[in-house]
Symmetry: C2
Subunit: 242 residues, 2 copies
């Protein structure tokens, strides 16, 4: 872990990589305290600011946490799913916005993944998940709701569905797919008519999950996917006219 080629550029990146590899390989277990910045500087034969830049890189990925004081230092962080959600969502959102991913492609991916969760959710959903879904359906029927609030409620509804599968790995993966879609969905203006249709499909899905009917839930998701694609196409067509 203490190797460093004599290339005097990217030193902090090299040090960060060395420590990261040690963490990923398990050589540095969770909650292990790293040597102090001064010691690391000695070991790698660099200055303390360079070590600090390397540690900040790792902190940005939630791989370490730091603590001041006598018994302080940098500690290997237990990467929790909640911590990873945020990064996953940020990354997914940027990937979509920076790579000219079409609405159709993103939508297809999102519903394909969500349909994978539906059978598990139908089987294992708890009262909590059902209650969240019903509450969001109710919210979506409020007349004064802005389009942004409608989309946010939509995200909450679908995340409750995904979480219903009771598999944290799935919830983590889907967090990116579902939340990253929100900026794209926000382009759509939801008329009273389209909201009614969506709420109807949400109700169909919630009913199916309540009844533990995986097939019906899948039907609802398919219909919702199709309808969402159609709404987006209408927006695109309307823009083309201008």
């Amino acid at each position: 872990m203490k190797i460093d080629p004599s290339n005097p550029a990217d030193l902090s990146a090299q040090i960060a990589k060395a420590i990261r590899d040690a963490i990923v390989s398990g050589a540095l277990p969770v909650d292990e305290r790293l040597p102090s910045e001064a010691e690391l500087a000695d070991q790698f034969d660099v200055s303390r600011p360079t070590v600090r830049e390397a540690l900040k890189r790792l902190a940005a990925q939630s791989l370490i946490r730091t603590q001041r004081g006598a018994t302080g230092g940098a500690f290997v962080n237990r990467l929790r799913f909640e911590d990873a959600y945020g990064q996953q969502i940020t990354t997914s959102t940027l990937l979509l916005s920076m790579n000219d991913v079409s609405f159709a492609t993103a939508c297809e991916a999102r519903y394909a993944l969500e349909r994978a969760c539906a059978p598990l959710a139908a089987e294992r959903r708890t009262a909590d998940h059902l209650a969240t879904m019903r509450a969001e359906i109710h919210r979506q029927q409020q007349p004064g709701l802005t389009d942004e609030a409608f989309c946010a409620s939509d995200v909450t509804f679908h995340r409750a569905l995904v979480d219903g599968a009771g598999n944290p790995v799935l919830s983590y993966q889907l967090a990116g797919a579902v939340e990253a879609m929100q900026p794209l969905m926000n382009m759509i203006t939801f008329s009273a008519r389209s909201r009614e249709t969506i709420v109807g499909l949400h109700t169909e899905i919630a009913d199916a999950v309540t009844a533990q009917d995986a097939d019906k839930a899948d039907d609802g998701l398919c219909a919702l996917a199709q309808y969402t694609q159609q709404l987006a196409q209408n927006v695109i067509a309307a823009r083309a006219k201008d």
Copy 2:
């Protein structure tokens, strides 16, 4: 973007967040040059090392790239899918290893997501994808293959299947799920008999995808998921005896 509360700790984290928000919101477009470190230090009223630590945090997330020289500086980076793969895999791997995620949970998530790709892959796979799958099946039949190499080939096979869906968003999401499983799979010792079974199922899947038969591909994946779970249970049972 220039706001900074007078809390004199975590300055670099606050600055990183301010710039990150500007990038995510689109205020800083791709390839835009950030002010020089000296200018940023002036604007945020901090020292240059503090600014540098903030920039290193962003660089660790591939949000910016830096360049030395007269026209150098920090530029907003176009986050590419290839760049994000690595981070996704690292994060997923650590999440699994640090959170006592059971083999069953990880396996369930992985195959649920992979099954979501199968119908699309059956529809759109190219000759390239089919060739990769066949090549890996062939490799998996080599007698001298180590268990690690067998697992690596397995990953390549399944990534070809996922890529066959022709949806970069799906490929990105699945990269984490599929690759992060590899360390867990490496725990399993693949006997000649189990390899034969797996190769048989791989062949069934490849045949189905070749014939564009989504249902058969799904059958193969389900069988593979079940068999993998069973192999893992055998390993766990054998360990319990010791």
